[in-house]
C-alpha cells in the first residue's frame, strides 16, 4: 500500500516540474518588455530599469530559473509586486475562503449525485431515469456563472432567502459561515453533480448486470445490502476518478463565482493578480492550482487502490 502511494507520488513529480517550468516561462512570453508593461505608459527609463531589477530580468534566464526553482524548493514563491506581501502569505490568506467554498460544493455534489445516480440506475430505462438524464444534460450545458447569476437573482435578490454576497469565516459561527456559502457552493456544485450523477448511473448499471449480483439476488440477500455493499463498492472506482477531476473544474469556476458573490478567495486573488500584471502572484496562483489538482489525482489513485485490491499491486 505504501509502495503504491510512493509510486504515484513519483509519477506526479515530472508533471509538477513541467508546470513550474511553464509558469516560470510565462513572464518571458510577455509580448514586449514586462517591466515596461508594469511601469505603464510614459514611465521614465530609470523606473523601467528599476522594475527590471526587481523582477530579476537584468539577469540571464538560466540564473533566474535557478533562483526561481531554489526559491520554490524552500517554499518561497516570491513577493507580490503591488502589496509587497509574500506570494505565499497572500495565497494563504485567500485559501480558507476557497477551501470552504469547495468543501461545501463537494458535500452538495455527494448529496445530490449519489441518490440521483443510484435512483436512475435502479430504475433504469423508466421515466424516472430519463427525467434524471435529461436534467443532467441540461445542467452540463449551462456555464456555472449563468447558474450563479440565476441563483443570485432568484434566491438572494428576489426571495432574499440567502445573503447575496460576502464571506464570513467559520469563527463567526457555523450557521453564518454556511449561509454565505450555500448559494455559491450550489452554483459551483450543479455542473459537477450532473457529471457525477451520469457517471454513477453508468457505472452502477454495468455492475448491476454482472452475474455475481444476480447470484446474490437469487440467494435472497436484501436489495439494499446488495446495492450498498456490492453494487456501489464496485461502481466506485470510475466514479471516484470523475469526482477527483471536478476539482480542476471547480478551481477554475471559483474565479467567476467569487466575482459574482464578492468573496475574497483564491479565484479573486488570481483575477486581481491578472488585472494588475502581478507576475510573481500569477505564477504562484498557477502553481498552487496545479499542486491542488495533481495532489487530488494522487489521492484519488490511492483511494481507488484501497478499494480495488487488484490495482494495489499494479503500477
Amino acid at each position: 500500500m505504501i509502495g503504491a502511494v510512493g509510486r504515484r507520488l513519483l509519477l506526479a513529480i515530472p508533471i509538477l516540474v513541467v508546470v513550474s517550468l511553464l509558469s516560470f516561462l510565462l513572464i518571458d512570453l510577455t509580448p514586449g518588455s514586462p517591466a515596461e508593461l508594469l511601469a505603464g505608459e510614459g514611465a521614465t527609463p530609470e523606473r523601467v530599469a528599476e522594475l527590471e531589477q526587481t523582477l530579476g530580468l537584468d539577469q540571464p534566464i538560466w540564473q533566474r530559473f535557478g533562483d526561481y526553482m531554489s526559491g520554490l524548493l524552500q517554499g518561497d514563491f516570491g513577493t507580490s509586486l503591488f502589496s509587497g506581501q509574500s506570494v505565499g502569505d497572500a495565497i494563504g490568506a485567500a485559501l480558507p475562503v476557497t477551501v470552504s467554498l469547495i468543501v461545501v460544493a463537494y458535500v452538495l455534489v455527494f448529496v445530490i449525485a449519489i441518490p440521483l445516480g443510484v435512483l436512475a440506475a435502479v430504475r433504469r430505462d423508466t421515466r424516472t431515469d430519463r427525467a434524471i438524464s435529461a436534467t443532467c444534460s441540461f445542467f452540463l450545458g449551462i456555464p456555472s456563472f449563468v447558474v450563479a447569476l440565476v441563483l443570485v437573482i432568484l434566491l438572494a435578490l428576489t426571495v432574499e432567502a440567502f445573503p447575496a454576497t460576502g464571506y464570513k469565516p467559520l469563527a463567526d459561527g457555523f450557521g453564518v459561515w454556511l449561509s454565505h456559502l450555500i448559494l455559491p457552493g450550489l452554483a459551483l456544485a450543479l455542473t459537477s453533480a450532473a457529471e457525477v450523477t451520469r457517471q454513477l448511473r453508468g457505472a452502477l448499471v454495468d455492475v448491476l448486470e454482472q452475474d455475481y449480483i444476480r447470484t446474490q439476488r437469487a440467494k435472497g440477500l436484501p436489495p439494499l445490502l446488495i446495492l450498498g455493499k456490492h453494487g456501489l463498492k464496485n461502481a466506485a472506482p470510475p466514479v471516484l476518478t470523475v469526482i477527483g477531476l471536478q476539482l480542476a473544474r471547480m478551481l477554475g469556476s471559483t474565479v467567476i463565482i467569487e466575482q459574482v458573490f464578492a468573496m475574497p478567495g483564491f479565484g479573486a486573488l488570481t483575477l486581481n493578480a491578472v488585472l494588475q500584471h502581478d507576475f510573481p502572484l500569477i505564477q504562484g496562483c498557477v502553481l498552487v492550482s496545479a499542486i491542488a489538482v495533481i495532489g487530488t489525482t494522487v489521492v484519488v489513485d490511492v483511494v481507488e487502490a484501497g478499494l480495488n485490491p487488484r490495482l494495489r499491486s499494479a503500477a
Partner: protein
C-alpha cells in the same frame, strides 16, 4: 464472505472500426454516419439551431434593427416593448441589436479559439504519435502539465501576461484546449503508424510532413470532428467567462459574456438585461454538446478520441 469480483475498466466493444482500421473513411461509411446522425432528433435540432446562429452572425447587419451602439439614456434598462423587443441596457442601447451583433463576435471568437487549438494541437500530436521517442515524451509531458491546470486559471494567467482583449483571450483559450487536440492527433497517428500502407509511402521517400497531413490526418477526421464539436461549446463558455470578467471583448463591442457583465453591474436596478445573453450562451453551449454526442454516437463509440 467470498472475495467480490472487481469491475473491469469498461471498454465497450467497437461498434464500427471506422477510425482504427487504418483505411481512409470511405464515401460509403461517411454516408452511413450521416444517416445515423440524421436519425438523431436531438442532434438535428442542435445542428439546425447552430445553422441559424451562423446565418444571424453572417447576415445580422442586414436586419432592420437599430444601431447596436446607439445610446438612449432616457430609456435605459427598459423591459421588452414594441420598440425594443428585448428591452434596453444601462446605456439605453437596444438589447436585440446588441445580441445580434454579439452573436457575430462570439462565433468569430469561438472559431478563432478553435483554430488556435487545432493548429497547435493536431500537428504536434500527429508528429508525437508518428515519430515517438524523445519528441513524444517531451511534448506529452508539456500536454500533461497544461492539462493539470484548471482551464480558466491557465487562460487567466496567459491573458495576465499578454494583456486583456478578445484576440489575446482567444489565443489563451486556444492554448488551453490544444492539449486535447494533441491527444486526439497523437492517438490517431499511433494507431496507424505501423500499418503497411504507411510503411509503403515511407519507403517511397514521401516526406514526414506529407505523410502526416495526407495519409494520417484524414484517418482522424472522425474523432477530431467530435472533439471539435465539444470544444466549441467549452470555448464559448470560456470566452463568455473571460468577457464576463472584463478580460475578453472590450467596450463598445459586445459578446454575450460582456453583455451579461454589463447586465450584472446593474442587477440591483433591473435583472432583465442579463436574461437574453445568458439564454443565448446556454442554448448554444447545449446545442454544441448535443451535436457532439450525436456525432460520437453516429461515428461509433471507439471514435471518442481521448
Amino acid at each position: 464472505m467470498t472475495e467480490t469480483p472487481t469491475t473491469e475498466v469498461v471498454t465497450p466493444a467497437p461498434e464500427s472500426t471506422l477510425a482504427a482500421d487504418g483505411t481512409t473513411t470511405t464515401r460509403r461509411s461517411r454516408s452511413r454516419v450521416m444517416r445515423r446522425l440524421r436519425r438523431n432528433r436531438g442532434a438535428m435540432i442542435a445542428a439546425g439551431f447552430i445553422a441559424l446562429l451562423i446565418l444571424v452572425a453572417a447576415l445580422g447587419g442586414l436586419l432592420p434593427l437599430p444601431d447596436p451602439n446607439k445610446q438612449d439614456l432616457v430609456n435605459r434598462l427598459s423591459g421588452p416593448s414594441g420598440d425594443h423587443w428585448l428591452g434596453t441596457d444601462s446605456f439605453g442601447r437596444d438589447t436585440l441589436s446588441r445580441l445580434v451583433a454579439a452573436t457575430r463576435v462570439t462565433l468569430l471568437a469561438a472559431t478563432e479559439g478553435l483554430l488556435v487549438a487545432v493548429v497547435l494541437g493536431v500537428p504536434l500530436g500527429l508528429l508525437a504519435g508518428y515519430v515517438g521517442g524523445a519528441t513524444d515524451a517531451i511534448l506529452s509531458r508539456i500536454a500533461d502539465g497544461l492539462l493539470s491546470l484548471p482551464g480558466l486559471v491557465l487562460a487567466l494567467a496567459i491573458v495576465g501576461v499578454a494583456g486583456p482583449g478578445l484576440t489575446n483571450a482567444m489565443v489563451a483559450i486556444g492554448i488551453v484546449f490544444a492539449p486535447r487536440f494533441y491527444r486526439v492527433g497523437r492517438s490517431a497517428a499511433q494507431s496507424v503508424s505501423h500499418e503497411t500502407y504507411i510503411e509503403a509511402v515511407r519507403a517511397d521517400g514521401v516526406p514526414t510532413s506529407r505523410i502526416l497531413l495526407r495519409h494520417i490526418l484524414p484517418n482522424s477526421s472522425g474523432p477530431l470532428l467530435v472533439q471539435a464539436s465539444f470544444a466549441v461549446g467549452f470555448i464559448i463558455t470560456a470566452e463568455a467567462s473571460l468577457s464576463f470578467l472584463g478580460l475578453g471583448v472590450q467596450v463598445p463591442d459586445a459578446s454575450w459574456g460582456s453583455m451579461v457583465r454589463e447586465g450584472f453591474a446593474h442587477v440591483h436596478e433591473s435583472t432583465f438585461a442579463i436574461i437574453p445573453p445568458a439564454v443565448m450562451i446556454t442554448l448554444t453551449v447545449f446545442a454544441f454538446s448535443q451535436l457532439g454526442d450525436g456525432l460520437r454516437d453516429a461515428l461509433g463509440r471507439d471514435s471518442r478520441g481521448s
